[in-house]
Symmetry: C2
Subunit: 907 residues, 2 copies
């Protein structure tokens, strides 16, 4: 640790640098950088994160020497500005703002206008010198300090202010006359004093109180929650920025705003953002007043019209920052009497759509290279582009039917439908039983967990940079904000819209791309990108689809891992292929069994009283299975298709309802009681660990024989028709060497028999899933009879942890909440436990059979962090659901390039 | 392979040696050895197992040169005996008998009297020279050759013979006159010819036919079955012994018999066996006629009276053989005109009781040393000594009540009760649903599997060396043979006794130690050894108990592994301690929860609506749990007691019957529907992998806290009373490091709190079970917070294989039957899969914490083969059920000495 805890900036120079985010925090580093670039930044200084860490580790004691260093820097500011902090006539006012190394929006706290007290205010009111401006600043100071430092509920201040507005007969705060404001600040002071200690009148006490509050806020509940959700280390700490105030609330030639150097929703290359006239920065971020768009709307020319010089300056600053930082920026600015001041710059958050487009555009602009573009597009961005949308016609019908409840800002793209929850707590509860839409007047950091649990978020207030909008985009959730016609009554559990009332639990749909809120549940459907790709439309019509394809082609050039898909139907196979799948890694045969035209025969196979009855049923199933396979093989022409033989316990196929049992009994000439008895007799205490997979293949070989025959006949048919068809046969649930020995022989025998019969020669690899821990442990034995291994990481995770996926809901959420597990091992592969088995099986498998092909077909095959692990294991491919294929392609490229793709090491 | 396939013996010399069992088979080696020792053995020669292996591997073709070699040896026999094979006047008759390297009683086949044909018989009948003897020999030849070589059902011959006896008005075969015998042999010849090919009249054809039949019989179903059950290699092959006949059926001064050098039932040091006058060997072994005891009975002096010289010779031979072989022998002999000939010697099979007593006696006789005694006593022998017996009073009451159905020979010690099965197939079927007693007129090798499935075996015919008796003793099953008043009607499914009829499925009890068959089900109770030890009686009163204690004390001197027990009550703890347990390795706390006085409170804990209701219930449970622990700690004074905290899912404790739900609802002031709903809501799809073990401890910490408090208060109370009490606390189902971190802290906190409260200091190790595969994989992390590991190999096996113990019955029997698995992995540890995890966890645990204590408390802790594996892993202790403790002590000693204790490597 050094003994320098404070770094100055402003006036065209800075002690710190833009790359010192860990030391100065993101905000401090950004301010230092802008200052060095000659961008107009009000002068100030940054207390380092080291100071915060010292404070946190030493029972909230500041590091030795800090106060002296602080005093020196404050004196410097007074000299630059030519004003004294605490001066009665012309006081220097300061802001104190947090800034952690990683942006944590809304998590940390800000206090503006520090340096005012009643004496100063009274002096100005008495002298009639800018009394309204001083009163407004003091009001804001009391609110923020009261709330953030002293813990007085925000609502108390809001109540006073509302009453004052009503009494004065005005709609907005800027309209309040000075006398009314004086009454307000007196009421504020009283509210603070009543809640505990009075507001400190000594300016230096205010300053230190605010610094302490920022340091303390690193450790508050919502900050910890945010860090947990975003995997941010508890260790880092936050910086504190003390900065001279510039005022957006000094009159109508003043404003405050936030902007992105490009559109964070679409990626369009144009300064984008919002501003509020005669307001301070917190008004925008808090979403209290709905701001104006910088780009204007309709006839309104926007910022360029209101403040032409400042607008021009802003455009130049944005271009300068992008050139320097080679990244889209998210900036805060204030216009004081027409002059632009920059208060913050940071890399901007964006939707998936924008991320892809910006990355691709920046390559074309030659700001970055392709690999950097791949680094910047997160796998979650890709999945956002594939997020569902509503069917346009269905949505329009709903609108024509009068179901459009509100329009708001399209703050998070994508479509979602679910039941209304009006509080974050309810959203969490309700999410257990189905999709939820969280509807609030506005959200706050306390709502994070509930937002996480919801499918989509709607607020009645706030703008594109409101808390709800920022968080929703980060989470990749569809979001509509500022839907002003909605009004939430939490107490009554009602959502009111234009006289209509919707109770909590009613169905609601939201289109976060269009900014629409619609009553009832619309059915989300594939995104624009998906539609373009799946329908094979011209990419020129969709810049998004074009960018999507471009980044993925670049990714394909970088990755080593192949990406296959898990698909059971020709339709799914076609989707996957259109999205870049290089084969099928898992074709489950059991789903086919449930089709109405075959389940009866499947049941007869199970309930058969003798070999003849069973043979009859199998003879009916053979041609339909064969047809299924032909369709799939055709869709995957030229690519491998791994077919897994029957896996689930037969019990799953039996009728459990009395009616279906009676029907089945009739079909087979049995008594309904006999069927019911058989169903009962076949039920298992722990079906997950029961009579399934290859255990069935050995005890009831006829089913596997039929399936293999169907595969081989299908392949022979196609080969004769000139179709390049590459089936692979996979045995599930092997755990004992002898299982594989016998089943390989059985399969090879059927293959040879059918080949002879069809007079066609094929080469069909026969392999196994590695999903039982024992199979991994004895992989060197299993490999002797397996041409390939495919890791079934779902079951492998179940058995390695001893967790039933069906039951884990009873404790896994608690485990994750309490930090016992860092993540859900079914979503992200447990590299330290389950991963050990994967690595062991890879090593042993290769030792026994150097040319063995290794892949993975569990759901982890679509998880970026897991994909990186599989890449390190040297697997040949991952296989995932069709819609995850593009995500996997990107994740595989990022892994090859050594980029981190989220996820933490397991515990 | 050498080119010598035949070894001669007889006349005081032999080409082979007694230690060449692998080459000559057991019988051939024994004959060679006896011959070399100068014991009278009819001359002969042995075809080696190499010849058999050649034959098996070359499509049933004899090795080149074998026929010539055979011819030379036959010529030698003709020269010694001065008779020609096939001679009309005075033909040399030969026997052909199998002899595998390991004794396989009843599995292989024998043909006597080879060398006779109709021409020779007719010549003798015509000349009146010994016609009856020749006819009897020819009759036997036809029966055996027809049955064994030509596959004509034995029953056909039996039917002819019965009819002949009836017609002649005689009871036994020796009484049949020559004329009747002539008619019999003619009928036999006809029966054979009708069944296929006629009986070969050329003596050399007979001889080769018999040799071929022996070689072929190595590969028949029952031989394979026996080898599978006894883990005998398929590779070995059998020898064939061709030997000059001596005749026990040449008149009343002739006899044939079998003997043991000591009593194979009790171990008493006295020649023991049976003989039949005027009979051939097969009559004894087959159990067709009930033989006389060598030691006599009542006034009958036995063999010493009937043939004093031969008896004296037999005693000397027995002593000679024991001195030479240092082991109890099982011999076959024939007396021809008063002169003794030995036909076989081999190490004798014996009951557990005899094995222990003979081994201990032989140490005292200085024939063997203590380690050799330990080698000779198999763990299964020890468990036989602990096998249940009936309560004497209860049994006597049953006898007074007229329930004694039959007395027979006490062929296999121990008591058993179950339902009657009259065929081996039925026994197999019925065994699935409860204990079965197999009752047959006599058993044959085809019955092996059914005998295995039964609790006990009863036959109406046969002696101590009949098939049933020999097999039952080998399997350690209680067995009564020769219970002549019983008569089995398989077709009607009836057992008839003195006019009473018992249907298949009726209850029956048998006392294999006393030889009694009793109707109805008596309750088996602990064996004599157990009673003596548990009641602390003087060992002098029971030679068996004395020998038992002696061998186990010797074992204790040799073993490294400690042996603990799994016990949940003071009573079980006391039993285990009396049997030598050195602590408790697993004290389950959940069994205590089911007691009537507490299950209601347990349910209230689960169903509690709030913390208060839960606390009330826990407050009721605390003192009773504390009392339980005090009792157990007191019983194990001075020894460690590992208490496992609650493991099963809470659902198990809830009432599932409507009535119990109503009662519970009343107690708690809930509606019965609410209780039913909760029960339903808590049920799980796969409870084995559900919300249980430490997962409960973390989500519902109050239960663990109560349990820990009960343990610590109990210990404090005892320590203050001067009792040396050593509790250890064990956390179940850990799979994630953080589980152990938090639970260790929680437990340590409660321990510290109660210690302060009780003003007593204890040292309580806190450890975990390793039963989830992941725990083994990350053992180095778990060890950081665990003072000890105890392997829960039951769950570890379930999860490593993905087998649910509750459901495995659907395929595991098939797997074992079909040879997919070599054994039940829940009975014998799977060393190659599950064992890998055990070894890994041992290594990682020790690396992280060199002083970590390692043990195992799964059911494998009582399995000898598994114990040997745990010994190799360097565990400190195994823990098993109380009655397995002596078995484990012996197995641990055998492991330390490098002796094999059964079981095969896993696949």
């Amino acid at each position: 640790m050094t003994d320098k805890f404070i770094y100055a900036f402003g006036g065209g120079t800075a002690e710190g640098r833009g790359d010192q985010k860990e030391l100065l925090g993101g905000k401090g580093a950004g301010l230092a950088e802008m200052s060095s670039l000659g961008i107009p930044v009000p002068p100030g200084f940054t207390l380092t994160t080291e100071a915060c860490r010292f404070y946190q580790r030493n029972d909230r004691v500041f590091p030795p020497g800090l106060r002296e260093e602080f005093r020196e820097h404050l004196t410097r500011l007074e000299e630059i500005q030519g004003r004294r902090f605490g001066d009665l006539q012309d006081p220097l006012l300061l802001s104190v703002r947090s800034g952690a190394p990683t942006s944590m929006p809304g998590m940390m706290d800000t206090v503006l206008n520090l340096g005012l007290n009643r004496e100063i205010v009274d002096h100005h009111v008495g002298s009639g010198e800018k009394p309204r401006f001083i009163l407004d600043c003091y009001r804001r100071l009391l609110t923020m300090y009261g709330d953030v430092v002293l813990g007085v509920p925000h609502a108390r201040f809001e109540k006073v202010l509302s009453a004052a507005r009503e009494e004065a007969g005005v709609a907005t705060d800027p309209e309040l006359p000075a006398e009314a404001l004086l009454a307000v600040v007196e009421a504020y002071e009283q509210a603070i004093a009543e809640a505990g200690e009075p507001f400190p009148q000594e300016p230096m006490d205010q300053l230190w109180g605010a610094v302490r509050a920022v340091f303390d806020s690193w450790d508050n509940r919502r900050a910890r929650e945010y860090r947990r959700l975003h995997h941010i280390s508890e260790e880092w700490g936050t910086g504190v920025n003390v900065q001279c105030m510039v005022f957006g609330n000094r009159g109508t030639d003043c404003a405050t705003g936030v902007a992105f150097t490009r559109n964070p929703g679409t990626g369009e290359r144009r300064v984008y953002g919002e501003y509020l006239i005669n307001a301070q920065g917190e008004d925008v971020v808090a979403g209290i007043r709905t701001p104006k768009a910088i780009t204007g709307a309709g006839d309104d020319p926007g910022l360029a019209g209101d403040y032409p010089e400042a607008y021009e300056a802003l455009e130049k600053v944005c271009e300068r920052l992008e050139t320097h930082r080679r990244e889209m920026q998210d900036v805060e600015f204030t216009i004081e009497h027409g002059k632009l001041y920059m208060l913050q710059t940071r890399d901007g958050k964006r939707t998936g759509l924008a991320a892809v487009r910006i990355a691709v555009d920046m390559v074309h602009e030659e700001r970055i290279d392709r690999r950097e573009a791949i680094r910047r597009v997160e796998p979650s961005h890709i999945s956002q582009l594939l997020a569902p949308e509503f069917d346009l016609e269905e949505k329009e019908r709903a609108i024509v039917d009068g179901r459009l409840l509100a329009r708001g800002l399209a703050a998070g793209p994508g479509a979602a439908a679910g039941r209304i929850a009006l509080t974050a707590e309810r959203a969490e509860e309700m999410a257990a039983s189905g999709p939820v839409i969280l509807v609030r007047d506005e959200t706050s950091p306390e709502d994070i967990v509930g937002m996480h649990a919801s499918q989509g978020i709607v607020t009645s207030r706030g703008g594109m940079t409101s808390h709800a909008a920022v968080v929703a985009r980060g989470l990749g959730k569809p979001c509509v904000v500022g839907a002003g016609s909605l009004s939430v009554d939490e107490e009554k559990g009602e959502l009111r819209v234009d006289g209509k009332v919707f109770l909590e639990g009613a169905e609601l749909s939201l289109d976060g791309t269009a900014g629409e809120v619609i009553s009832g549940a619309l059915k989300p459907r594939p995104s624009e990108v998906l539609q373009v790709l799946l329908e094979g439309r011209d990419l020129g019509a969709s810049p998004t689809a074009q960018a999507f394809q471009e980044i993925l082609r670049w990714a394909d050039d970088e990755r080593r891992l192949k990406v296959r898909t898990n698909a059971d139907t020709p339709a799914d196979s076609a989707v996957a292929r259109a999205l870049g799948a290089e084969g099928i890694g898992l074709c489950r045969t059991e789903h086919m069994f449930f089709n109405e035209d075959r389940i009866g025969w499947v049941r007869q196979v199970i309930l058969a009283r003798d070999a003849e009855e069973r043979a009859e049923a199998l003879a009916h199933l053979l041609p339909v299975q064969q047809e299924d396979f032909e369709g799939i093989f055709r869709a995957l022409e030229g690519l491998p298709v791994t077919v897994r033989l029957l896996d689930p316990p037969l019990h799953e196929f039996l009728p459990h309802e009395r009616k279906a049992q009676v029907a089945m009994a009739e079909k087979m000439g049995l008594s309904p009681e006999a069927v019911a008895e058989k169903v009962e007799a076949m039920s298992e205490a722990n079906p997950m660990l029961g009579h399934r997979g290859c255990r069935l293949g050995l005890t009831t070989p006829e089913i596997y024989e039929m399936q293999v025959e169907a595969i081989v006949r299908a392949a022979c048919n196609l080969v004769r028709a000139g179709v390049d068809c590459r089936p692979e046969i996979m045995v599930p649930l092997v755990g004992v060497r002898e299982e594989m020995v016998r089943l390989r022989k059985m399969i090879a025998d059927v293959v040879a028999r059918v080949e002879r019969d069809e007079a066609t020669e094929l080469e069909i690899p026969i392999g196994t899933m590695i999903e039982v821990p024992r199979a991994a442990l004895i992989a060197e034995q299993v490999a002797l009879d397996a041409d390939f291994f495919s890791f079934g990481t779902n079951d492998l995770t179940q058995m390695t942890y001893g967790y039933s996926r069906d039951d884990v809901g009873r404790f896994l959420p608690f485990y994750i909440e309490a930090g016992i597990l860092k993540h859900d091992p079914f979503a992200q592969l447990d590299t330290s436990g389950v991963g050990q088995l994967v690595q062991l099986a890879c090593r042993k498998g290769r030792e026994a059979r150097p040319d063995i092909k290794l892949g993975i077909c569990g759901e982890h095959g679509g998880d970026p962090a897991s994909i990186a692990f599989f890449d390190r294991c040297g697997l040949e491919y991952v296989s995932c659901s069709p819609y995850r294929v593009p995500v996997a392609r990107l994740a595989a490229a990022r892994s090859a390039l050594g980029y981190h793709s989220g996820g933490k090491e397991t515990s």
